[in-house]
Symmetry: C2
Subunit: 424 residues, 2 copies
């Protein structure tokens, strides 16, 4: 017999079906044994009647066993219908239960556990409804991001993870033993590659893993995370980039179906305006985490928006390729996107003139000889361009109001954690 | 004025437009200067007439300069229409040319160059029509793969690249300097993680970068490549996995629009049948590259198929988690998918019973203590399952009949090559 998914059982009333899945709950009532079964499509209740041939195996079975069940789909009597439950109007009358896999669980799935225990037992704890919801949402987010970009003529590319040369420019990079005595590094961002790709396709996106060896142990840092990156040519300035990012966010909110305060236009403030609105010093080059939270509260109150753009960070705080605002010297055509208290995206316009770029690199103490490959893109005709990067796990966490980004990360790696898995 | 894409110019006849892009070709005919411009949407011809104000700047401009052009779209006279060329019925009468970026190219784009020169100058050479076609196709392939899987209820997950513990099981893994004195490794496959995810979602896919430190310098090996992976629960055997992979390949062929010999069903042979068909020794545990090529020629001739499945490799040649065929002891429920002479996918059913798995691991000299995290998935109720992995770059290369997989890889890394890029 072919397997019937639990979500499709309603179309099989009075018929025999084969259901395969997990025992979600087993309730032994002596003469009769009740089950809730679970598969990827949902849940259904089943019963083993006293005279059923399945009664012996039903006694052996425990929660989380993997089973194959032959049963008849019965309509429940009117008075027993549970209108608010999936399959609340039907019940399986079980004829045969075959155990496909036994199970022994470390603790009850709904038990209160701390984050470390949760993470240590992810092959089990990821099975909870909450965890499944997080990672289904994450799957939807990344797909919605790609869809939004494809709709605007962006082409996907596979950014490299291994890079030669040392990453002296910014975030700490992990070092890799490459062949023989060579050293390589793990990419901290696909930034330079996506700029190169602008000269090829004008508009590109990539969703690579990136790696940060920073020694932070916080609720928002990860050693490895998924970056949703895009880069586009022929922009007038950073606001063209912000418009694409805003449309991508709109698509993500729409596809996840979650409640988000997202007005017609996301409010935009310069860093100095933001600091003034918060009544904090307008000398600081960046927002502290508590300022980011306060600014988001302000945006929600004043603009009914969970998102807020902050633009014009000082040049000194931004990477060498950042474009300076000619009307506001010392400040860059850059932005961060904050969402529910956290920076989730960063971006801006980039320098496209080769000489200016080399000059800025040198001013930051970088040796242009070390990135000749990148500079070639600027020699062969680079249009004005800019782009943005959004952290998938941070966005997932804030969309679902999860305090620690590690809970929105599959198998998170950080200062204190990397699971030990033989890899083959 | 808003930019008009070159592909949309036909709708603007007799109107003024702003075109932005690259100078594809410039032809100075003395009094008049002709241009072909190029943007992401296509090409168009333009002319600077002798009395145009643009004549001075037109003299400065060279091939590959990035320009912004104000022009009028003129219909060509009937006799000058080039029916087989994009925009062959229109011409731009140029009023203003503004240079956005100058360009100096290392050699002509269509020059005959060897692969090393091609790779050394990718920021330039990727711009050729051939290269752009390769990576547009690659973008289509990975999206078609995801779409095929999503249509069958598979959920995407982000497989980790950094793994703890040593990868003694199979392919050589690159070692990473993790925090302090800790060592980590780069994942050689998402295999164990996708199996873990089966107990969460039943059906999952992932398209991660994977890393192989093998010391091969061939036309088909890369140190870093994109793996299109899926894994599914509740299978009867490996043929369920092959059916999903076959449907994904059909979708990829359809979406790329390329000519591929793909019959109703891809032919399937056991390894021993394949060896017999080729008239080679049926004692060998695997096919040599030249046998893979010969088998594909056979499949094309006998079954009009560019694809052929080979199943039942000896257990000794497969990883510890491989499922043995109870009716064919010593042989596994595994498969490779060959396409136009090259192995592009591998897969099979996996062991789902905890005790059998531990026994097999020990028999292969592996220490189960080192992958307790993985084994927990088998303790908490693992269904019968299997999956497959396909190399994106290999598939791209064979689809486009490119001899060397490096040409179908953006920024390929191998034994002799890793570009030196400062990464920020």
């Amino acid at each position: 017999m072919e397997r019937t998914l639990i979500s499709e059982l309603g179309a099989h009333v009075d018929k025999k079906v084969l259901v395969q899945g997990w025992v979600d709950v087993r309730r032994d009532q002596g003469k009769m044994i009740f089950f809730d079964f679970r598969d990827r499509s949902g849940k259904v209740q089943g019963v083993v009647l006293p005279k059923s041939e399945a009664i012996e195996s039903a006694k052996e079975v425990r929660n989380e066993f993997v089973v194959s069940v032959e049963a008849t789909v019965n309509k429940r009597p009117e008075k027993n219908i549970k209108a608010d439950v999936q399959n609340g109007d039907i019940e399986l009358e079980i004829h045969v239960i075959t155990v496909l896999s036994r199970a022994e669980v470390p603790f009850e799935l709904e038990a209160e556990i701390n984050l470390d225990t949760y993470l240590d037992h992810q092959p089990y704890t990821l099975r909870s409804e909450k965890a499944r919801n997080i990672f289904k949402t994450q799957s939807t987010i990344i797909e919605a991001f790609r869809e939004a970009l494809r709709e605007e003529d962006f082409i996907e590319f596979q950014a490299p993870a291994l890079v030669g040369g040392d990453a002296e420019g910014g975030a700490a990079a992990f070092k890799v033993d490459y062949y023989y005595d060579q050293k390589a590094y793990l990419a901290t961002s696909p930034q330079l590659y996506k700029q190169i790709m602008v000269v090829v396709f004008e508009r590109v996106f990539s969703t690579p893993k990136v790696f940060r060896g920073e020694k932070h142990a916080t609720t928002r840092h990860l050693s490895e995370y998924s970056s949703m990156d895009f880069e586009m040519g022929f922009i007038k300035d950073h606001t063209d980039v912000m418009a694409v990012l805003e449309r991508a966010m709109r698509k993500i909110v729409e596809k996840t179906g979650l409640e988000v305060a997202l007005p017609e236009r996301i409010p935009v403030l310069t860093l100095r305006e933001a600091q003034a609105a918060l009544g904090v010093s307008t000398d600081e080059p960046d927002l502290e985490p508590e300022h980011e939270r306060a600014l988001c509260e302000w945006a929600l109150k004043e603009h009914k928006s969970d998102f807020v753009f902050v633009t014009h960070y000082p040049m000194s705080k931004r990477p060498f390729y950042t474009y300076e605002d000619e009307n506001n010297l010392g400040y860059s055509k850059s932005f961060d996107l904050l969402f529910r208290g956290l920076e989730i995206s960063t971006g801006g316009q980039r320098i496209h003139n080769l000489e200016s770029l080399i000059e800025r690199a040198k001013a930051k103490g970088l040796d242009p000889e070390k990135f000749k490959f990148y500079l070639e893109a600027f020699k062969v005709g680079m249009p004005p361009h800019g782009g943005s990067a959004t952290g998938l796990e941070r966005l997932t966490a804030r969309l679902l109001n999860i305090a620690n980004v590690k809970e929105a990360t599959l198998f998170p790696r950080d200062l204190n954690r990397i699971d030990t898995l033989l890899s083959e």
